[in-house]
Symmetry: C2
Subunit: 107 residues, 2 copies
């Protein structure tokens, strides 16, 4: 239901990944608090938050004159499900790799 490329694209920027990680560990935060920890201007942060919002990664709600942002758990679930849907591939590939290395080291 949720398209992956916008999610990956949004997380591909280090600033946005940092914002998402902070929101996940600290929970809902307002734009000002998010901005304070970053080395860029408020308008720049506002645009990053808009990108995250349009990708479906965060929600936004108004509280007095503040805008509160929070990560949408469904977005993370979508990514998790994608990796899991390919788990058979990377799990067995990794196992094969480890076996090959072991065989190489102790001949």
């Amino acid at each position: 239901m949720s398209p992956l490329p916008p999610l990956f694209s949004a997380l591909g920027d280090p600033t946005r990944l940092a914002i998402v990680e902070r929101l996940m560990t600290e929970g809902e935060l307002d734009a000002g608090t998010i901005q304070a920890a970053l080395p860029i201007s408020a308008p720049a942060v506002s645009r990053h938050l808009d990108v995250l919002k349009r990708a479906g990664l965060v929600t936004r709600r108004a509280e007095k004159q503040r805008r509160l942002y929070a990560v949408r758990p469904e977005a993370l679930t979508t990514i998790s499900q994608w990796t899991m849907s390919h788990r058979e591939f990377w799990d067995t590939s990794l196992r094969r790799l480890e076996l090959a290395i072991k065989k190489d080291q102790t001949p």
Copy 2:
């Protein structure tokens, strides 16, 4: 060890995501075979493959005059580990959401 933003950024392009998914289901493929399924020129595909390579998402090896590409399982593991490291957040958030919806529907 492997940085996430380049991985996410590389997967943020629909063409590259499609390439990675195809390589995961079909295994190692040469550049020409990958290009044949896509609506863009060979040089464009070559550049996408280079982006994937530099992000650490694929390996490349020469076989006669062909270049064979394959997904690095470690890259997928890195992403999986990231989602899992935040699983407590999205798992409990989702559960809370579901409870709130249920409470709303049957008052």
